[in-house]
């Protein structure tokens, strides 16, 4: 991962229209007076702390920050942020946030959602927000279970999952949110893990800096209904084999480190199929190891990377920024059209509009 910087919002393109804080902020400024009511041990606490801790780095006037959520455990998030916020209805947060962000370019708008909220009931809004590229930052808390309704399988649960609603195992093939987002023309897609505060913060920083829609999938542990779902990525021993940390401009390597300090495994392109595969790094193949290019105009390699993970064991799960490309931003273009209309036709004249061109006059 690139070094963590505390880049101010002045230099962040996505936030140039958002007013800056007058005084230095601290994490405390972003804590609301509401008691946090997630289950003790929930991964959501870690994400909340990371977001509250990260916000001062942006240096934005907190009255210009809005958190919009849907329904689910994670969707209580806005209540705990001392910013503007809306806890809306199930699945609809991206639509509501789209209206807000496209009408108020001076705001930094964040969506907090979960795997059920974003990918099941709200799947339609998610994909359309991504393709439009509205200036939204979407934090998708993925715990692979329905928590608030007490433990049914979710659209990211593994096949065969035994839950209250699937006593004989679930039949549904899961979504891979990162693959889905790349397929939906997302301009920024990243994945991180609740327990890795440093990584989480860095991904948030890059998402905040991205002009357009940023989707950040956060693997988040539900210790009540799906405890240990991401253990393979968290246990130090297992993580070496399971986690592929992506860094732009760096070779894609993981596994037990070699003497060089670099991972003993790497990702190469299969010359016959064009697909990606994991190999053990040797002096012969070392030069073949792919260098991660998050800014590649083509989403093909990012998609292939997203497919390396085994949905059951989570082995070979890439984390970090898979894709970050510049694409026209919806709200900017919407605003530009308004300016163009005024340039072309002059500022609207209501009396002239109402009169139209075909009138007749009745005089007394």
């Amino acid at each position: 991962m690139a070094e963590t910087t505390t880049e101010g919002s002045d230099t962040i393109e996505a936030l140039t229209l958002v007013p800056k804080a007058e005084a230095k902020q601290s994490m405390k400024d972003f804590k609301s007076d509401q008691e946090v009511r997630w289950c003790p041990g929930c991964g959501d606490y870690a994400v909340l702390a990371a977001v509250q801790g990260f916000m001062p780095q942006l240096g934005l006037a907190k009255e210009n920050i809005v958190f919009v959520s849907g329904i689910g455990c994670s969707s209580r998030f806005p209540y705990y942020m001392n910013t503007y916020g809306m806890h809306s209805i199930h699945g609809r947060a991206p639509a509501i946030a789209t209206g807000l962000a496209s009408s108020r370019r001076d705001l930094s708008v964040w969506v907090v959602t979960g795997d059920g909220d974003a990918l099941s009931i709200g799947g339609n809004h998610l994909i359309h927000a991504l393709r439009r590229n509205v200036n939204l930052k979407i934090l998708l808390f993925n715990n692979r279970i329905y928590g608030l309704t007490k433990g049914q399988y979710s659209p990211t649960s593994e096949v065969g999952k035994i839950t209250k609603s699937t006593p004989m195992g679930s039949l549904d093939a899961p979504f891979n949110p990162v693959s889905l987002a790349i397929g939906a023309e997302a301009s920024f897609v990243a994945r991180t893990v609740d327990s890795d505060r440093k990584h989480l913060t860095e991904v948030l920083r890059q998402a905040a800096a991205h002009p357009g829609t940023a989707l950040v999938e956060i693997y988040q542990n539900c210790n009540i209904f799906n405890d240990g779902a991401f253990e393979a990525l968290k246990d130090k021993q297992q993580a070496e084999e399971a986690v592929i940390r992506l860094e732009h401009g760096q070779q894609i390597r993981f596994g037990a480190p070699l003497e060089s300090g670099l991972g003993s495994k790497g990702v190469v392109r299969d010359s016959l199929t064009g697909d990606l595969k994991v190999v053990t790094v040797t002096p012969e193949n070392e030069s073949q190891i792919l260098v991660h290019d998050a800014h590649s105009p083509s989403p093909t390699t990012a998609f292939a990377l997203s497919r390396l993970a085994d949905p059951d064991t989570l082995h070979h799960t890439p984390i970090g920024v898979l894709r970050s490309v510049d694409r026209p931003v919806y709200d900017t273009q919407m605003s530009d059209q308004l300016d163009t209309a005024i340039e072309q036709n002059g500022k609207g004249d209501l009396a002239a509009l109402l009169a139209g061109s075909d009138t007749w006059t009745v005089v007394g």
Binding site: V66, M86, I96, G99, N345
Partner: protein
């Protein structure tokens, strides 16, 4: 174009200022006080355009008018079939009229299907102009005519004008470099030219329109103008048309002012733009295309220079969701739809009720349930508007009565939404949306002031003396909560669909608080200031006819007929369906009989009976068409006598 009717005296002479073709005067000219014309043809024949143009000519001439476009949901049903028939009815007069008319005096039938689909509505004695070129054996068989109705005597008693419209059009355009097929397309303009001659319509507007519509294809523009003129000249020269008609301008019926013709959806669009200007708030429309509401999305998207943002969403839910997001941000937010869309938006309307943010939900009602009759009219969404949400979720309802009234209704809906911080349902319908009438263009200085005050600072002092902002601390008069938009320092707050504590707005599951909040939200809507109901009762009648929405025209026309025949009947028409005007209960109890005609199975009657314990009688029609005045007059007469 502008024409001027300068004084009643001049207008009585039939003088019309403005360049136009005039009949040469060798034929009889008869004066009529009103005419109903129906243009009917195949969906591809351009009947809506023909009707629109005749309407514009008529409006610029200064007649009062009312129109009824009627078209299939299919864009192009199979050619020459009954389901493919599209028609446009226009009623115009030298006096004030209220409906598109019951029965046409003139039917223009472009093919056998158009004749067959419409003949039942046309009384004997009426004129029928048929395009004989289309009365081929095959075309006749397609709609089940074994023998041509032009030859079997079935049209005896009608004044039939057989005109080979297609042949004449092609002949008139032979100088143009057009294929036969291209030339045939102008036959609607030939028909328009003929009718324009028959009724002395001004023609320059149509010629101008054609020039600009086909600006990029000057040859097509010239061909259409040539066909239009050929139709006019055909009327002027052929012996079959011995008489032409004058219908004098209706200046006496109109108050002084400048007028234009306007359809309901256009008036509604303008009303929204006007409301945005009067409120000094940017307009934000979140919408998903649906018949018959899409024209509002089209229209508003043309006016970005008014600061109007239009967002075509991925679905109905996202349309209202985006609007609600924009409302949170301080826009005048609107979503436009029809009945099926309202069903999808219900949960978000409920959220807006809970968030107490201003939001306009425009429902252009159509035939239901489900997909129903997308292009036909109905007013069967009243109970959906009133009750179609989970929980106690009261929403104010406003309904326009005529196409032009959609402008004022939009401003009124905006007033309520902004003043009371609530979603408002505006119930228009397909008849109002597509129908049109003359509209006195309002002076923009006379429009209502809709400006609002956003919250600026703390509004509450805690026991320890701390000044805080409470998002649910209400205005004692209106019970509206403060509208604090993001970007306002110090007022950071969170709102949501979970029940909140009165005042602070924090999440609260407290039973007593919920009971209080439910009652308070209801009280806020019940307390909305709406004008008293006007009753038109010149003779002290014992029977009251009560209506709402687009039935205003037919009900008023029926009431006039009854009064002209010496009957006594009172009339009142509701614009506000929730809350009802304060005096409605008193008004209802003044009459022995209350009749409520509706294009549904009695939805207003249900509300009125429940609220006022009045034995209101329903008179219902749900056939996708507006009531006919004669039919209503008969029904009301029966009620008076019954």
């Amino acid at each position: 174009m502008t024409s001027q009717v300068s004084s009643p005296a001049e207008q009585a002479d039939g003088a019309v200022v403005g360049e136009q073709r005039k009949p040469a005067g060798e034929k009889d000219v008869r004066r009529l006080d009103r005419v109903i014309i129906r243009f009917a043809g195949d969906s591809g024949d351009g009947m809506q355009l023909t009707g629109d143009r005749f309407t514009s000519e008529t409006a610029s001439f200064g007649n009062d008018l009312s129109t009824l476009p009627n078209f299939p949901a299919e864009i192009r049903a199979p050619a020459g079939t009954l389901p493919g028939v599209s028609s446009f009815q226009l009623h115009f007069a030298d006096h004030d009229i209220l409906t598109p008319g019951d029965a046409p005096n003139v039917l223009v039938a472009m093919n056998p299907a158009a004749l067959k689909a419409n003949i039942a509505d046309v009384p004997r004695g009426a004129e029928i102009i048929v395009n004989t070129d289309e009365f081929t054996k095959r075309a006749l068989q397609k709609v089940g005519y074994a023998v041509s109705p032009l030859e079997d005597g079935s049209l005896d008693g009608y004044s039939v004008h057989p005109v080979p419209l297609t042949t004449l059009t092609v002949e008139a355009l032979k100088e143009f470099d057009l294929s036969r097929k291209e030339a045939e397309r102008s036959k609607n303009m030939f028909a328009l030219g003929l009718l324009s001659w028959m009724y002395h319509r001004p023609t320059e507007g149509t010629e101008k329109f054609l020039t600009s519509k086909f600006a990029k294809k000057p040859n097509i523009a010239a061909a259409n103008i040539a066909a239009f003129r050929a139709g006019w000249n055909f009327g002027e020269t052929t012996e079959d048309f011995a008489v032409s008609y004058e219908v004098a301008p209706a200046a006496a019926a109109f108050p002084t002012g400048t007028y234009r013709n306007i359809s309901g959806n256009l008036a509604l669009s303008y009303g929204l733009i006007a409301a945005s200007r009067q409120a000094d708030l940017p307009l934000y429309l979140g919408s998903y295309p649906i018949t018959p509401a899409s024209d509002i999305l089209h229209e508003l998207s043309k006016h970005k220079n008014f600061g109007v943002r239009t967002f075509q969403a991925e679905d109905e839910i996202a349309g209202i969701g985006a609007a609600l997001g924009a409302a949170f941000g301080g826009s005048l937010a609107v979503t436009t739809t029809s009945g099926p869309g309202v069903a999808l938006k219900s949960e978000t309307i409920g959220l807006a009720v809970s968030l107490e943010l201003p939001l306009l939900v425009i429902d252009i009602q159509r035939g239901g349930p489900s997909t129903g009759l997308p292009t036909k009219t109905e007013q069967a969404d009243l109970l959906q508007a009133m009750y179609g949400r989970n929980g106690e979720a009261p929403v104010p309802i406003v309904a326009p009565r005529t196409p032009a009234d959609c402008f004022d209704a939009a401003l009124e809906a905006a007033r309520i939404a902004l003043t009371y911080r609530t979603p408002v349902l505006l119930l228009s319908d397909g008849y109002l949306a597509n129908g049109s009438e003359p509209w006195r263009i309002p002076d923009t200085d006379e429009l209502p002031d809709l400006r609002v005050q956003f919250a600026q600072g703390p509004n509450h002092t805690l026991d320890d003396g701390t000044e805080v902002f409470w998002p649910y601390k209400r205005d004692p008069q209106t019970l509206a909560r403060p509208w604090a938009i993001p970007g306002t320092p110090g007022l950071e707050h969170r709102i949501g669909g979970i029940e909140k504590q009165d005042g602070s707005g924090n999440i609260s599951y407290d039973p007593a608080n919920h009971d209080f909040m439910v009652r308070t939200r209801q009280a806020k809507i019940d307390g909305i200031d709406v004008p008293d109901l006007d009753v038109d009762d010149p003779h002290g009648a014992t029977t009251l006819v009560l209506g709402w929405g687009s039935t205003y025209g037919p009900i008023t026309a029926a009431v006039r007929r009854l009064r002209a025949a010496g009957e006594s009947i009172a009339q009142a028409h509701l614009r506000h369906l929730n809350p009802f005007p304060r005096n409605l209960g008193t008004v209802l109890k003044r009459y022995d009989k209350v009749v409520i005609p509706e294009m549904n199975l009695g939805q207003l009657a249900t509300l009125v009976r429940a609220k006022y314990l009045v034995d209101a009688h329903s008179y219902n029609q749900v056939n996708g068409m507006p009531f006919k005045a004669e039919q209503l007059a008969t029904a009301l007469k029966e009620a008076i006598d019954g």
